[in-house]
Every structure is written in structure tokens, then in C-alpha cells.
Amino acid sequence: MKTDVLIIGGGPAGLNAAIETASRGIKTIIIEESYALGGQLKQQTQFFNNLPKQFDRQRGIHLMRTLIDRLSPLPITCLLKHKMIGVYKDGRIGIANDTETFPIDAKKVIVTTGAAEETDLFPGWTLPGVMTVGAAQILINRERVLPGKNALIVGLNSFSAEVAKQLKACGINILGVMDKTVSVNDKKLVEGLEDKKIRVMVNTVIERATGAGEVKKVTINNDGKKEDLDIDLICIGKGLAPILEPLEILDCEFGFQAKLGGLVPKYYSTLGTSNPSVYVAGNAAGITCLGGILLTAEIAALNALKALGVLNDNEVKVRSSFLWDELRSMESEESIETFIARVAHIKEFHEECELPLPASFHAILEGC
């Protein structure tokens, strides 16, 4: 198989990048390991207020529809249930499904593999009934299955708080959302949970979870006080880390940026990586909000199109600077640290490569 652009991952970033490339008539293939496009949007019933201008405020699942509807009339090949498993010596990408392995010869690759949830280690964390908050959300919203009756949520952040409320709305008894930090800075987060009669426990850790074959009991240490709870569900919400394996296989260099989720590929202001044919976008380029996911995808796609000679310098320059401005406002609204870390990450790589930052980027640097 031959293509101009190969997009690895069919979540919001991959879909938005594909809309950009395919609408220019560029041959585009998306490979997606799941049975359907949409990535994590498939189960996100929460509203997203802070989205790029061309999107209305909407629920994640509706945004997924919007993206797929925009993409469907365009000439594009979607390979569902296909994974990237390696690179051939000549640079072609190795793809596999359940029955065969084959190469794809792509001029440009955009990696939009997203992020994976981090776990929390305590004795018993591998028992059935212990799962990530994302998994619990998938079960209630996509699969319509109750993951348990009595739940404990480990880790307090906006995502785990949102899922705690969704689980409760489905009839699950939430015994508490616990966090090991001594105090929570985000008062709104705590109030939002308490409004829904969900107990918030700070300075609390799990000592052990037990049960024969599945989790039945948990011992927590709540501010020095031990407590035994009868539960059948523990949801771990410890945040996200970028999924990097395809970038490792593609020989991309990495740097460390704690605020972007830890190890992230190095990239330029074009979202191009140290491998000249590879671009990265979305959570794989550093954990961000949904607006950031969509915008980085657009920036990467535009620059891939420029490298393919489809768009001219000036057009890309104008649109990029507009998109970067929008990215600054999106990411700053959610967490200014994310945007500052991203800009620092890019600046560092440009300096390392002795490649001057584009003039339009200087205005962004001054804004930080």
C-alpha cells in the first residue's frame, strides 16, 4: 500500500489531521487499533466548552460524530483493527491485524496515538474489579454495563471527578474520591463533588485491596485512621501519559517535560519530530485539553502538507500563526503550565538543532 500521509490513531487528533489532509485531495490512510474511529470521544458524555472556533460547545460523543461526518465524504482509507507493529529496513511502516502483516509506504506519518492512563500500585491492584476511571466510563457510556455497585475512586483530578459524577448518575454508590495529597488547591473540584454528595478524602491511601478472584474489600488509611470498606469497584484516576511506542520505533528523539506528561517526543514549531517524515499531535505530543488535541493536529497536518508541496509557505505561515494563537488561548485557559511547557519544549529543540524559530513564534514567546 502507498499513501501520501499515514495517520496512526483514529481519535480526535487523527480525525482532525485527516480532515485537513484529505480535504486537500491528499491520499490519506488512518490506521486505528480499535473496531471504530473516535478514540476516547466514544464514551465522553461530558460537555467540552473550550473548543476551537470551528466547533460548537458539545459533548465528546457528539464531537466524535461531527468529526466523522466531516471526514466521511472525503477520499480516505480507514483501516480499523489495524496496529502499527514496526518499521521495515526501507522505512515502510509495518501494519498488522489479526490475520496478516503488511507494509505501508507513506511519504509523511502523523502519529496521533493519544495517551494511556497511569496506574497506582497497592497490594491487590491487579484484582478484577480494579480498573482505571477511563475503563469505568467506557463501561457505563459505551457498553451500558455497570462496572460495580460500591466504588472507591483513587486520585482526584477533573477527569476522575467527572467520571465519579457520571458513575453516581448511573446508580453506583460512590464511597469516596480519595487523594494522597494533604490539601486540594482546586476548590471548585471539591465543591462540585460535595454538591453531588460524594465524599472527598485527602491524605488518604489504599493499604490493600482483597477478595478471592475479584475485589471485595479495601483497607484505606484516611489521615492516619484505618478504615475497611466493602467495595466491588476501585477506579484509578492518576492521570495520563503519552503513548510513545510508534515514535520510538520511528527513531524519534525524546525529551522530558513533566507538565506535558513526562517523556515526550522532541518537536519543532511545525510539530515535526527529529525524524523528517514524522509529525506528532494530540496527547502523544504532550497531555493537553481537547482543544489542544484538535489544534496540534491541524498544525501538524498543515506542515506535513507544506512539506509535501501542497501548500505554499505563506499560506501555512498565516494559518499556523493563527492556530498557535488559538492553542495558546485554549491551553492557557485549562492550564497555563501546559502551554509554557510546550513552548519551552519546542524552543529547546530548535536551539539544539540550531534552527531559528519562525518569526511568528516570537510573538508567542513574548506572550508567555
Partner: protein
């Protein structure tokens, strides 16, 4: 347990399908993954880990953690969280060393 009335989303179609788990006939809804179909039937333990012989079930539900492998129609090592259930499927828990399949190689 199945959520008949979701607080936000419209109801799913009610198309039921039948499958077998370890020989027992069970029901699932069209469009569910194998993992969800099992959990709907209150099966949460999908197998035992190879080395430490510990119970395993759904953990990430995203095809990432490999905790939810099952055997599907004789094919071992299938991720139950990213594979849709189909009429008549025979699912078995993964309890030992898997017979990992090969592939057709070009090049």
C-alpha cells in the same frame, strides 16, 4: 448488569445475541465488546496470569494493558476489551500459556 435507562444517552438497540463462556450459553447486546458482555453477566475474572497465577480482568478497557485476554473460537490471546462480541462466539478464559499465533508475512 445492563444499564437500561442511561441518564444522558439514548437507549441502545435491544438486539440480543447469544454466546458461550466456558460452555455456558449467555446473552449479550449487539455492539458490546467481549469484556463488556462478560461483565454484564457478572463475570469479572477473565483468566489467570501466567507467572504469578493471579486473577485477571478488565483494567484499562482500551487495548493497552493486556489484562483482559481471552480465547475466542479457539484463538488464544484475544483482547476482550477491543473485540466485539458476535453471535455464537465461544469464549474461554485464558488460564495458561497462550499459543501465540503467527501471521502472513510479505517482504
Amino acid at each position: 448488569m445492563y444499564i437500561d435507562h442511561h441518564p444522558i444517552l439514548e437507549n441502545h438497540g435491544n438486539d440480543q445475541i447469544s454466546f458461550f463462556y466456558d460452555g455456558t450459553p449467555l446473552k449479550a447486546r449487539q455492539g458490546q465488546t467481549i469484556a463488556a458482555a462478560l461483565m454484564m453477566n457478572n463475570i469479572r475474572k477473565f483468566g489467570i496470569s501466567r507467572k504469578l497465577r493471579q486473577s485477571r480482568g478488565l483494567f484499562c478497557a482500551s487495548g493497552r494493558c493486556c489484562s483482559c485476554f481471552v480465547t475466542v473460537n479457539g484463538l488464544e490471546h484475544v483482547l476482550s476489551c477491543t473485540t466485539l462480541i458476535e453471535e455464537g462466539m465461544e469464549i474461554k478464559p485464558n488460564t495458561g500459556d497462550p499459543d501465540v499465533r503467527g501471521g502472513i508475512h510479505e517482504n
